[in-house]
């Protein structure tokens, strides 16, 4: 499939040139021309007022994945553990995986490395039909080689159609090695996963260009279809105490790693930051002005029982440690309430917090982009608003 410009219809208006996310349209002799950087995403097709841009040779027949990939059926989730306990993102992946498996009428498999049987049983209650468990202590600590080798063996044996993993430091590090070896596609940081009704392919939606735009990605000609998902993006499924499933203990005694973790160091900052888990986050940005502003935010956080978040600007200024950073280069969060105080709302910040249930924005600039995503917007000075809010909330809590 490729996209071309019908030179007889093109008027040279240049409308299409800027629409291309890949910079693949250039003007040649007063007509638009699509160069080799085209990804055939077809974004430019509806943009052309003349209808001069068309898709050709659709003859690259919609690959008949139904028969070609008949062997590849199940959905497989890589369930991550930390210190032997299943990480919350795993339950979210099981929620997403269960939905896809039900849609496909297939089984939901889970792989758990470095945890015990009790944790594996939890995965069943969260929706897995079968868990491949490897309790060998070699998996307690994360090494790319051992994790990749173990997951590869299970995938090669079970031939899942879809493989999901968390977009965590662990998943983002070793899953690409697995995809490279399997010669298949991997889509990072998906925010939505659906099954295409016609082809049965996995439709993977993810942000690109710093969250400025969303891309819908397919892996039509290779299996498995692999995707990573950020923590707190997918909803957990239903927890069923009585649910039963199969737990298969896998041996894997002979796996070796070239890298070696010699030490694991925990760094917990003064307010225990667990932004991923927090129900309420009170975040500050450049507008917080410094230590003084963050002191007010901490008081509000204490009053509402929340934790402190920050925009990149505040972290770069050194007012708050990096571990509090929310956004593209920080953490993605999804709390019930997100207070954004003195944060203008650069897209890089928005992509990390815009799925919060309720967003309360306080900013002096009425045109700040944060107000576009805010549930409640207050145009005003956070040095005035925040202490007032803290006092009112304390008052209310004192009454109850």
């Amino acid at each position: 499939m490729s996209v071309i410009v019908r030179q007889d219809k093109c008027t040279g208006c240049e409308t299409c040139v800027d629409s291309c996310p890949f910079d693949a349209i250039e003007m040649r002799d007063g007509r638009a021309f699509i160069n080799e950087y085209c990804n055939a995403c077809t974004t430019c097709l509806p943009v052309c007022p003349e209808g001069a841009i068309i898709e050709t040779e659709a003859g690259a027949a919609p690959s008949d994945s139904g028969t070609k990939f008949a062997d590849y059926r199940d959905v497989l989730v890589f369930a991550e553990q930390r210190d032997g306990r299943t990480a919350p993102v795993s339950f979210e992946l099981l929620g997403a995986g269960r939905r896809l498996a039900d849609r496909l009428g297939s089984r939901l498999l889970a792989v758990l490395l470095g945890a015990d049987e009790a944790e594996a049983e939890e995965l069943v209650r969260w929706g897995a039909d079968r868990v491949y468990l490897c309790s060998d202590p070699v998996f307690r600590r994360f090494n790319d080689d051992t994790y990749a080798a173990a997951l590869l063996r299970i995938i090669e044996e079970q031939k899942p159609s879809i493989v999901l993993a968390g977009a965590t430091p662990v998943g983002r590090s070793f899953i690409p090695r697995v995809a490279a070896r399997l010669r298949t596609g991997l889509t990072a940081d998906c925010t939505s996963l659906e099954i295409d009704g016609e082809t049965g392919n996995l439709v993977q939606i993810r942000p690109a260009f710093g969250g400025n735009i969303m891309a819908s990605i397919l892996c039509p000609d290779y299996r498995p279809q692999m995707a990573t998902v950020r923590p707190r993006v997918m909803k957990r499924g239903r927890y069923d105490e009585g649910r039963t499933g199969e737990i298969i203990n896998t041996g894997f005694k002979d796996l070796e790693s070239r890298t070696r973790v010699v030490e694991t160091v925990k760094e917990v900052s003064e307010i225990s930051v667990n932004l991923h888990e927090a129900d309420i986050i009170v975040a500050g940005g450049r507008g917080a002005g410094g230590e003084k502003g963050f002191k007010l935010l901490r008081e509000l956080a204490e009053a509402v029982g929340g934790v402190i978040g920050a925009s990149r600007a505040a972290v770069d200024e050194g007012w708050v440690p990096y571990s509090h950073q929310v956004g593209q280069t920080g953490k993605t969060v999804n709390p019930k309430i997100y207070f954004a105080c003195g944060i203008s709302g650069a897209v890089q910040h928005l992509v990390g917090m815009q799925s919060s249930d309720i967003i309360i924005a306080v900013n002096r600039n009425p045109d700040a982009p944060i107000f576009n995503v805010a549930t409640y917007g207050i145009v005003g000075d956070m040095f005035e608003i925040v202490p007032m809010l803290t006092a009112r909330i304390k008052e209310l809590k004192g009454q109850s």
């Binding site: 943009v47 710093g210 819908s216 890298t259 593209q328 207050i378």
Partner: protein
């Protein structure tokens, strides 16, 4: 010691806006920059060169214009610059990009390959680990500190969610780095002169012994089906009045939906 630093020329995503009428990217006037994470990768390589002695090669895959980013890399201390450029590479996803990069790195030879943890236009963080897999060498992601290099071994700190791991790896190794690793230097005057005179070596598909079917759009397992603008949240409410009234309304609203 030979060190290769993989860099990518990217549009400055902070400058990109969406055209509200057509829901498409407005790229006009958006400057091209070296991916910010890659500057930290380059700085790490140059510091190793200064401490232990090494030859640093900056490598990028991209269109001919990407030469600019290579010259910038030379101005910051890279000794050599290689542009992997061929029409056959166009449309590569992370799999095909890593495949081609690995082909070039194999030809050039490296004891350490540095990459930024991710590029700001795609944000996948996949090309580093995938390239290591194609090269058949170990990798460590999210390196925030290099503790030492000796006896053909490197010890680094890997940033994790709740702290860091201290990891040892034999060489050759591929490392992807985070911003905490260092502060990239500004180009020196001498560096700028070197950049102007630098000879950029161009490699194409014939130079990397590549399997034609594994290159470019054809070699890419993932396909971009469509591109669209992100949804904006509806139901927003601006709270009017003076500060006290605003706080009052907010408290009422939050109580109404049982959030307080």
């Amino acid at each position: 010691m030979n060190i290769i630093v993989c860099i990518k020329q990217v549009p400055d995503t902070a400058e990109i806006k969406i055209n509200p009428e057509t829901n498409t990217l407005m790229r006009e006037g958006v400057p091209s920059i070296i991916n910010p994470f890659d500057l930290h990768a380059l700085e790490a390589a140059v510091r190793i060169k200064e401490d232990l002695g090494a030859r640093v090669t900056a490598l990028t895959m991209g269109p001919p214009q990407a030469e600019n980013s290579l010259r910038e890399a030379v101005s910051m201390g890279a000794d050599d610059a290689v542009l992997l450029s061929d029409r056959a590479f166009a449309g590569s996803d992370t799999w095909a990009t890593s495949y081609a990069l690995a082909g070039a790195i194999r030809k050039l030879g490296a004891d350490i390959v540095f990459c930024g943890k991710q590029a700001i236009d795609g944000d996948t963080a996949q090309v580093g680990p995938e390239t290591a897999e194609f090269l058949g060498i170990p990798h460590v992601s999210y390196v925030r500190k290099i503790e030492w290099i000796r006896d053909n071994t490197i010890r680094v700190q890997r940033l994790m969610d709740e702290g860091y791991d201290v990891v040892e790896s034999p060489l050759p190794v591929l490392l992807t780095v985070v911003k905490e690793l260092n502060q990239p230097r500004m180009p020196s005057l001498k560096g700028k002169m070197a950049a102007r005179k630098a000879r950029i070596r161009i490699m194409g598909k014939a130079d990397i012994d590549a399997d034609e079917d594994s290159l470019g759009l054809k070699g890419s397992p993932t396909k971009v089906k469509s591109i669209f603008a992100p949804e904006t949240k509806a139901g927003r409410m601006m709270l009017g009045g003076g500060p006290e009234e605003q706080v009052d309304t907010l408290i009422k609203e939050l109580r109404k939906i049982r959030c307080l």
